[in-house]
Subunit: 212 residues, 2 copies
Amino acid sequence: MKLDKVPEVVIQRLPRYYRYLGELLEEKTNRISSMELSRRMGLTSSQIRQDFCSFGEFGLQGYGYNVKYLREEIGKILDLDRMKRMIVVGAGNLGQALANYQFDKVGFELIGIFDINPRLNGFAIRNIKVMMMDALESFVQENQVDIAVLTIPEEAALDVGMYLEKTGIQAIWNFTPVDLNTMLHICVKNVHLDENLMTLAYEYKNLLKKQA
Amino acid sequence: MKLDKVPEVVIQRLPRYYRYLGELLEEKTNRISSMELSRRMGLTSSQIRQDFCSFGEFGLQGYGYNVKYLREEIGKILDLDRMKRMIVVGAGNLGQALANYQFDKVGFELIGIFDINPRLNGFAIRNIKVMMMDALESFVQENQVDIAVLTIPEEAALDVGMYLEKTGIQAIWNFTPVDLNTMLHICVKNVHLDENLMTLAYEYKNLLKKQA
DNA sequence: TAGATTGTTAATCGATTAACAATC
DNA sequence: TAGATTGTTAATCGATTAACAATC
């Protein structure tokens, strides 16, 4: 039963399946049952079969799933094969850290870094020199840019976000604490680290309470 | 109807409520209705009332919610008041970036940074010198450490995670791509940046498809 | 063929939305 | 008092789990 639209919750789980299947491949395992995979991942086998069913039929009765094939299919759904071109906007600590990350494996290639601080002008990270923000517009016109990683201070987030949208960039990976997705019409994924840490604080409190 | 256990999904939303209520406070708004808040946040008013109801009664019929009071109560639930002591393990790009972050606002104080690279020994970030890993055990014994931020390479993640658990640290904010929560018995929050980026790739693909 | 395991339907569980009596 | 808005119950929706016929 191949659905037209894969449910959002399933999409959220795909990268994790992709990683586990990659690990299996490294262990030279070329087939796996939903039961065995469920044990490894801490899910139910029902959920795994239901998830895979939502975007196609990848298994074989009495056999299980072919690891390599299943992994490739998930990669296709997530569009990991096609290279996307990425720039980092905001070359502070976090921006530099992300610029050093190896996102090539998941299909992202870093082609530019931008900042407003003149002292960073020309400073190179992985052979890519930091450019000034006023050079961004022409850069986007001359180079196809798929996605901008936004690592600037909160105060500038909305302005720069709207500016990026205006240049024609259609996806933003947003590390500022501003909910840009509700304000822009392009594709935005928020990473709110502070919110994540707050939920950890809650869980930690509960752990301590249980021990007391 | 105050529930014994606040549902996980509600907890995930609390930091966002906390942030919006903080913004309202800065605008000197001291009361808000579920209807008005729902407009701002892009939720339904029903959900907001249902969420708040799950951990108490904070509103007043015909009036709405007192912004300052509601925010404080959410802060208490998340345990943001009590200061937690935090160390960063792995002083690479990401570790340094996080060490520079201001997490004091949400109740976390950085008290130590650790790495295995001797060249970083003594290098200071925000007045905190990087220490070598072999000094970690005695450091934990002499200082109460609540949480470790784990920003080390994937290969070392499991070993160091188990080591941290053994020292008595009870919470890990895990930035490695390893699912430590399934392997350790302490409180672990995973931040899998690569997985997050993969779901952005999926959404971006769909956006392009819609336009074609 | 017999055993194993999928794909899929049905049952359950939980979360969101709608509705409205209670009450400020 | 009249209007507004909560707290809460009921209805709906969606996601997870259970079960099993189909089939390799």
